[in-house]
């Protein structure tokens, strides 16, 4: 849930990168971190295992600029993708303003993608949110790999609602900022809608 601070003239929002294990959530954040001006970003924190798998979350604070005198700040989080970290995923979804689902385009990960979307739906519902109402964007990652499934097929499986979606290769950065921008925009539009 966004936090509007009239004193500091700031608006803070929380975005969460969701998706199956090894789909590239952390890689998205790393790319954003590397390519953002130092004054617009804070430190990136990764709570990871010794083998660099996300254990709890990654965190990256970003400033996007000002709207009508209010600084807009986005806090980017990733969830741990591995199935058995479900309790942690639920915690990280608390207070979320927008979700980016990172799908792994590889054919052998089709089922893992679908399970992860279902898991997202369930965990959101537990907190009274729904995927239909929350700002939601899908990223088809690893488009560069030879075993990537056609986007049309991924779309029919993962995006029946027709939310904004992007092809990406997070390692080289293709589609990373497009996905982030689209989500941030949806979040701000949602806040505008919610304004009295």
């Amino acid at each position: 849930m966004s936090f509007i601070n009239y004193m500091a003239r700031e608006i803070n929002c929380k975005l969460v990168y969701y998706g199956p294990g090894l789909c590239g959530k952390t890689t998205n954040l790393q790319y954003i971190y590397e390519r953002t001006n130092p004054e617009a970003k804070g430190k990136m924190i990764s709570l990871a295992t010794e083998t660099e798998r996300t254990l709890f979350f990654d965190f990256l604070p970003l400033s996007l600029g000002e709207i009508r005198g209010f600084k807009t700040r986005f806090h980017l989080y990733t969830v741990p993708g591995q199935v058995f970290y479900d309790a942690s995923r639920k915690l990280i979804l608390k207070g979320v303003d927008g979700i980016i689902f990172v799908a792994d385009s590889q054919i052998e990960r089709l089922e893992a993608n679908q399970e992860s979307v279902e898991n997202l739906r369930t965990n959101l519902a537990e907190q009274g949110y729904s995927l239909e109402k929350i700002p939601y964007v899908i990223q088809y990652n690893k488009r560069d790999l030879p075993n990537a499934v056609d986007v049309a097929e991924l779309r029919s499986l993962l995006n029946p609602m027709g939310v904004p979606d992007f092809e990406a290769n997070a390692r080289s950065g293709v589609g990373v900022f497009d996905t982030l921008k689209a989500t941030s925009k949806l979040v701000l539009q949602e806040l505008k809608k919610g304004a009295p």
Binding site: L188, K192, P196
Partner: protein, 160 residues
Amino acid sequence: MVNPQMVMYEEEFTQIQTVVDRLVREANARVVFIVDKNGQLISASGEVDNIDTTSLASLTAGNIAATGGIAKLLRENEFATQFHEGENANIHIQLVGNRVILVVIFDSKSSLGLVRLRVRKASDELTRIFEALLNKVREPGGDSPFAEITDEDIDNLFND
């Protein structure tokens, strides 16, 4: 949405900052800060220049969330207090009104007993301030900086 949106106004911010500033002095603390449960920093006081408060805020909230998860598994309501002792710095974390987190960082110039005592008093005051703030936010007709922004304003933010 499940919870009302967190909004901070000047009046309540000043009250909160007064409590936090006083707590730094009375507890002989190095730093005191308040974070909302989602990891947004609300207020800080003390030697904040040497500390990455944004990261601390996010990690503290993650810590409280994880501990809250453990409490739920044990059918406890919440573990409201945490204390971590280091070689040079200690950190006392207190959940206030089940909504915000009060963090006190202190060294050998203070003691756990003193910090606990002062935190208890500050918690009561903060609970009252945040309750009043939440009631204010729930009132209909409050203004929002978003009421006047246009789609164009949003687009402009993303122009490279």
